[in-house]
Symmetry: C2
Subunit: 413 residues, 2 copies
């Protein structure tokens, strides 16, 4: 392995999670210790920060604050949704990146995100190779959607799944206290893959979960749905439904789109309610029962107070592995997890070519999904349960979390 001496930079990209900062902590604390790495930078708002030459000098931060990043939700150095163009058509961004990398002698680039981010990292890797600029580029997975190719699961998923299962158990207790008929619809994130909604099954396994679960992997049938709701209502008088925001009907339409003609704003735009509120409204009209629509919204991805210790540890380790792999000569790979066993739970860290990860979505296996909203099979629970184990959260000061506070000293241009 050839020794490569230069600066390292990390960018955070896409929607936040409870543990994306834990991966950043893994990168920072490992990179700061390396003799080959001459400077450690954090890109302000991901790739945009590099293009704009705006990055933080991480060596200026207190080590104790960098450690607190493990339990600080969201993307501390700023995230971005920015898709690089095809370099064959528009190489401007790539040339600019190369210019900046050269100026600061950046030889290690870590990008923490979902499949779009892995695509970005791979494209940069190819471009730098074509320009004979030596730079080791490693992707670090991150997504509550858990839909990245090649890895058993993704950092961020375990904590979000723990939030979903715990909160549904609590809602089960709350939504069933009256002796009147009631339907509660809970909307969970996940545009194309239903992994997070599937975590509702973990609450069902405890006897304190939703009655019906709908994932985007299965085409949503309105007749079946209302019939399933009616049956459950007649049997139990109280129905709790967990549904993915990404559910689509046979016309490929999201649920709010179907009902969007009801209301338009003053510009004629359709006013989209969320899936939960739209369905709750329809159920109210059809069955004349009390309804409640609930969206887990940002809470499901930023509830660091309820993070899974397993998830925090793996996210941190993925960051550390990324640095160590790059130092060992790896490039153009994403760090992934391979599961060795469920009981005791054991994984090993692996390298997945970025090219394979880019733009591919891993969905819940269809054979794990029961028909008619009847939840997930045992295989899913055995898969998911190890990922939500343990607790690891920020220390409390005066009853509230003490999150990391970074000085965020920008590197002089």
């Amino acid at each position: 392995m050839k020794k490569l001496v230069g600066a390292a930079i990390i960018g955070q990209s896409g929607g936040p999670t409870s543990v994306i900062n834990a991966s950043a902590a893994g990168v920072f604390l490992t990179a700061l210790k390396s003799e080959d790495i001459t400077a450690v930078y954090g890109a302000k708002h991901g790739i945009k920060g590099i293009l704009n030459e705006e990055f933080y000098d991480i060596s200026q931060e207190e080590l104790s604050e960098l450690k607190l990043l493990k339990n600080t939700p969201s993307s501390m150095i700023g995230s971005v949704r920015y898709k690089l163009k095809d370099p064959a058509k528009d190489p401007a961004d790539y040339n600019r990146l190369l210019e900046v990398f050269k100026k600061y002698n950046i030889r290690y680039f870590f990008y923490n995100g979902g499949n779009d981010s892995m695509d970005t990292a791979h494209k940069i890797s190819l471009f730098f190779q074509s320009q004979n600029y030596e730079c080791r580029i490693i992707g670090i997975p991150k997504t509550i959607d858990n839909d990245l190719y090649g890895t058993d699961h993704c950092p961020g998923y375990g904590s979000a799944a723990k939030y979903v299962a715990t909160t549904l158990m609590e809602i089960y207790h709350d939504a069933t206290v009256y002796d009147t008929e009631m339907v509660t619809v809970v909307e969970i994130m996940g545009r194309n893959a239903g992994w997070l909604t599937a975590a509702a099954q973990l609450a069902v396994d405890k006897g304190q979960g939703p009655d019906l679960i709908y994932l985007p992997e299965i085409t949503f049938d309105y007749d079946d749905f209302f019939s399933d709701v009616e049956k459950t209502l007649n049997k139990k008088g109280n129905v709790i439904i967990a549904i993915s925001e990404g559910v689509k009907d046979q016309d490929g339409k999201y649920i709010p789109e179907k009902y969007s003609t009801l209301a338009t704003d003053s510009f004629g735009h359709a006013q989209l309610g969320g899936t939960a509120s739209v369905l709750a409204n329809e159920i109210q009209k059809k069955f004349n029962v009390k309804v409640r629509g609930i969206e887990f919204s940002l809470m499901q991805r930023c509830a660091a107070h309820l993070a899974s210790a397993t998830d925090v540890e793996e996210a941190f380790n993925a960051g550390a592995e990324a640095v160590n792999s790059a130092l060992a000569g790896y490039s153009d790979y994403m760090i992934g997890f391979e599961r060795i066993s469920n009981s005791p739970y054991e994984i090993k860290y692996i390298h997945i070519p970025l090219e394979n990860v880019a733009n591919y979505e891993k969905k819940v296996p269809l054979e794990w999904i029961k028909p008619h909203g009847q939840g997930l099979t045992r295989e899913f629970s055995e898969y998911a349960l190890p990922l939500i184990q343990g607790e690891d959260k920020a220390p409390l000061i005066n009853g509230l979390p003490r999150f990391a506070q970074l000085k965020k000293v920008l590197v002089k241009k």
Copy 2:
């Protein structure tokens, strides 16, 4: 004090909280130890359970499960929203209650709820006195709204306030990660009193809270509001707003009512969006920025995993005090808290005549509320901070909470 021997019953009433079961545990565990109390019953769905002669025999439950009630959210024996009529006009319910109390020799009645429940308990107390039926009736306060008369604060508030402050801090981290303009509107419960929304100030005090806070104590002015949003948006590019669901404009209308003409369902009913989604929608139209409406919904009142230890302990003690007070001869009172000092935090348990509590709402003092959504004064934070201290939650089994499991053995009629 005259010794009174007979059965005791407790009812849970109104909207659940994280700690209403902690008060039930306080009643159960104290009453089961008393020699004067011959049986301990839990009314199924509050006053309705008594009218229907449906109550659980608490002596059949495992003590370990009753202890777990301290950390089990919502109303384990079932809640109810049922308002007794004026006994002068319709004494049927009262006569039926008396019949049931006599049949089972119930001499102790504990009712755990808000001001409606205290009104119910007081009316029953007066009726029983008029019929010369000796029964000691004690109310136990409960409400996340924190609006009961005569008590410094109410069980349930501290935990809900801790949820609001913690979650807003997490949302602050999540909602500010992009470098694009964005407005996040968070809707918090509280129809008439803004105590729970005011807890947003505790996140502001940490530098990680909303920019604007709106309580129902202040008439909502649309022009002021949009102007305040615009100013903050121009200054910061990112705005987080905490607003009570109970906010009303100068015509006495809730915010969703103002915009309800946009859509009506097939029966002609107005389709009400929530305050957050309606305002987010208006802000999007006015300023053409990315918006997100978030409702804390049931989570703010049932997130037992985030309960305040202070709240759990006080709720339990309020239940225990209710039993001990009744055994000591008190009747027609609610247990309340009087604050002795803030630092160190110290309270004493007091007795407040039910008559005074019934149907009175205690609001946030106007002098604590800053104009233009600028939050609350130091006095509020000093008041609220002690109430969110400490953690006390259900043990985790396999990563998820182990809530109480009651056998719920109905007493034979």
